[in-house]
Amino acid sequence: MATQHNQPGFTDQSVIRNFCIIAHIDHGKSTVADRILQLSGIVPEREMRDRFLDRMDIEQERGITIKSQAVRVPWTFDGVEYTLGMIDTPGHVDFTYEVSRALAACEGAVLLVDATQGIEAQTLSNLYMAIDHDLTIIPVLNKIDLPSAEPDKHAEEIAGLIGCDPSDVLRVSGKTGEGVAELLDRIVTDIPAPEGDPQAPSRALIFDSVYDSYRGIVTYIRMVDGELHSREKLEMLGIGMQHDPIEIGVISPDMMPTKALGAGEVGYVITGAKDVSQSKVGDTITSAKNPATEPLPGYRDPQPMVYAGLFPIDNAQFPELREALDKLKLNDAALIYEPETSVALGFGFRCGFLGLLHMEIVSERLSREFGLDLISTAPNVPYEVTSEDGTVHRVTNPSEFPEGKIKRIVEPVVAADIITPKEFIGAVMDLCQDHRGVMGTMEYISTDRVEMHYRIPLAEIVFDFFDQLKSRTKGYASLDYHEDGEQAADLVKVDILIQGEKIDAFSAIVHRDKAYSYGVMMTKKLRELIPRQQFEIPIQAAIGSRIIARENIRALRKDVLAKCYGGDITRKRKLLEKQKAGKKRMKMLGHVEVPQEAFVAALSTGEAGNDRDTKDKIRAAQKTEG
């Protein structure tokens, strides 16, 4: 292993370079990061595990980085040892705020683009964010080893976007390691050294904060001014709490405690905070003895954009669900939840998430790490509903939708940026129009790709907009969005009734124009998903007391194996035992057994069917409106 000469707390800012990597999911960021660790010598070859930086199982499996990490990497250029702070950033739209904090901790960014794919919308939006932060951009094309790579074409594209010469775009392969040493040299030569004041009262930016079951809360910081020492009491300027540090240190590539961290350095501090809300991303850490007065800019609380109910299939698991959420919360300041009771699903929690991916990750962790069998209701966005009598309701759950006449409903809107090859412009326009999108501008980012700007109600995006965008553009389009105010809209609540009973978990707030197709699609889908039972099951959709769609699940007439002779008995008994176990995963709604998939299906009813039956039924539903 390489010996590092520059010691933490004693490294001059002039030899420090802090950078992050901006890349789209699957564009190979982690592979390149791994290669950097390997080249610098801090990870011996034999310990080189693929994706060293991605710690959680889910991250490894999904190939995405949820939480950023920060590694101190030595690199010698022209005989001088430099200390590089490599800050790994999350790549997904839901974690934009975390990305912005990671960017604020750097002077430069490596823009990593897959040479077979070209730049994607989220990368572009992060790139613009980096440019806003005045970061030096080093453009890099990755995966040049692949036969389908088109480095010349995409170099032109990138050059056009950031205003450099195509020859300035580096070409690397994370897989073979080609070009990575040159990339490290460029980081040293191009990215400016930090320019904090080493003599000033200490200020460090928290750009990440994670819960570790052994160490407690580990807070990643970028020192801006002054120094922090291992035995000094710390203060969080934003929330005004003080902590005794248990340990400060750097990661290279494992945690190494140090006596101090100096201006410009990247490292970590373990504060003894109980959960991440006591050590929040964006906050400023200072020394309690000699505190700075001004916090660093940029601190805000993340706001949930999407809400959904999470219910244990077995209601006895409710306390376990609470414990599991409490544990996840340690690590996830953005996750909010409060108990909720559903007539259909029993006791659960209404949870607020940053976005759909955040929601998926949380539910997946709950089931995988905590062994919980959960039903998740369809996600919805927060509405502001004003009744005729003037009372204002904040509705984060269709069941809170007030009865009676509604004066006004306000919904959140996002600004969406979509990058697509030009042949799909029409398809994207159709999709956005279907989702009540209003088109803004459109620019060509290269001769064959465009960036389109839309204003779309968030509710339209949280269903299956992204999946549809991908399918209509053969996977080529990419999407980025951010909050962009709110607007009044003509929305109604559609209820679903099974055997005449309203099933609150299936209620949805949808635009009036879509209420009919939602009702028809949902009843049809439930008819397919709910197994036939010994009695007939009517399934209806209603707006208020007006039924707009109806399907019938006919009674089951035959459920018997034809043969049960000597050799069939064991097999049949095992089959029945298996079915019995399967039934435990069904939810009883009244007398009706409803499989978990029915609740999941409610998440994907966005696209109306094109078959004749569906169209006829939607027309019939529309006629019910008098």
């Binding site: 010994q534 089951l556 459920d559 034809a562 000597g566 064991t570 029945l576």
Partner: protein
């Protein structure tokens, strides 16, 4: 005290007294012999059967009877070693595959061997399955001479396009000739029918049932086509080449069969079996009454209600060559076995008892099942309310069609 294994107890629909039956069931022992050869494989069939003449180690059509007899001797010794002095044998059943692919003297030799090893009681029922293509009048006479009392033909359908879809090569005329020969030889006869074959109309099915009745048999089995995914037919259905059998269509066909057969004087005595009174398959009733039986041949299952205090099921090695190898080495060719736990026994009791006309003695059923559960089934039209008043759970026609749904609900009370 007389123990009623399986708890089926009193049987008001049968002609003998409960004491006799309990005592009989205690000692009843049956032998099943599986013959794993066929002339060709039908596209719907997933049975353990092979079209090759010789699978090695003596597992050939010619050597099969000898191998099976060797197994019988090994099984007898295994029984004695485990304190089971079984016999005499009350029923013998040769199934397959196609038992009649072997010569009549081979079949006769196996029956003789069973008699020599365990003894066959007077008046025993001795059945073989037969493919209408493989038997003629002489063959059938030879079976009768060897002591066979019953023959069961795989008729499947009387409609050519249905037979074609099932890959069956026989014609309805073959079946008729076989039945006539059986009648002349004094054998009881039965035919198997299959309903729900892709492309079979309700009228096709009516034709098949009526044709079977007109043959003059006294026993008819009618099975819903069970599509196994691993068969040719299963793959063709998965690929969309053939339509998937429809439960509602099968339910309608069950209704047709039950109605036509009842009108013709056949009573149902098990979900898929109808007989003129007194012509039930005693061998098959043994399975549903949970008696002891030895299964001889590759993949055959055996059942013993009391092996040193536990109920045990064992099954033979599936592949004939490996099965024959074990026998050649003097080993009982069991591939595996299970001890049936008390819960599993209770489950099997439900599974088997609710399939048959004599029904399930509620007093003998698992005590965790509340009385209200049985009553509810009667209210839903699944159980016969009159039989229930007499303490027996006997499925109605609807209860036969929804048999597994009913069993499943009852199983939830157990364990």
């Amino acid at each position: 005290m007389v123990r009623c294994p399986g708890g089926f107890g009193r049987a008001p629909l049968m002609s003998y007294s409960s004491e006799w039956r309990c005592a009989r069931l205690e000692t009843m022992f049956e032998v099943y012999v599986h013959v794993p050869f066929c002339l060709r494989r039908c596209g719907y069939c997933d049975f353990n059967t092979y079209t090759a003449r010789d699978l090695g180690n003596g597992a050939s059509r010619e050597g099969y009877a000898h191998q099976a007899i060797q197994e019988m001797r090994l099984v007898r010794q295994w029984q004695l070693d485990h304190g089971l002095d079984e016999g005499p044998v009350s029923t013998v059943f040769l199934g397959g595959g196609t038992p009649t692919i072997l010569t009549p003297s081979n079949l006769a030799a196996m029956v003789q061997a069973i008699d020599g090893i365990w003894g066959i009681e007077a008046g025993a029922e001795i059945t073989t399955e037969a493919n209408p293509d493989t038997v003629d009048a002489d063959y059938i006479q030879a079976l009768a001479d060897a002591g066979f009392t019953r023959i069961s033909f795989g008729m499947q359908s009387a409609v050519p396009h249905v037979l074609h879809t099932l890959d069956r090569t026989h014609t309805p005329a073959n079946v008729e000739a076989g039945i006539n020969a059986a009648n002349r030889a004094g054998l009881r006869s039965s035919v198997d029918l299959i309903y729900g074959t892709p492309g079979e109309s309700l009228d096709d099915w009516r034709t098949s049932v009526k044709t079977a009745i007109a043959l003059g048999v006294n026993h008819i089995s009618a099975y819903a086509l069970t599509v196994e995914p691993t068969t040719t037919m299963g793959r063709r259905i998965a690929a969309g080449v053939l339509p998937k059998p429809d439960d509602d269509d099968e339910a309608a066909k069950y209704d047709i069969a039950d109605t036509l057969l009842t009108q013709a004087g056949f009573d149902w005595y098990e979900v898929s079996n109808w007989a003129k009174p007194g012509y039930e398959s005693r061998h098959n009733l043994g399975y549903w009454r949970n008696v002891d039986w030895a299964g001889i041949g590759p993949g055959a299952h055996s059942h013993y209600g009391d092996v040193q205090g536990s109920a045990v099921r064992a099954w033979d090695i599936t592949h004939p060559k490996v099965w024959a190898q074990a026998i050649n080495e003097g080993r009982v060719p069991f591939a595996g076995s299970e001890t049936i736990s008390a819960t599993e026994q209770a489950e099997e009791q439900l599974m088997l008892g609710l399939r048959i006309r004599e029904g399930l003695d509620i007093a003998q059923a698992d005590a965790r099942i509340p009385q209200a559960a049985w009553r509810q089934f009667a209210d839903e039209g699944l159980l016969d309310p009159r039989a229930l008043n007499e303490g027996r759970a006997v499925p109605t026609r609807r209860g036969r069609l929804l048999n597994d749904a009913m069993i499943m609900q009852l199983m939830e009370y157990i364990s």
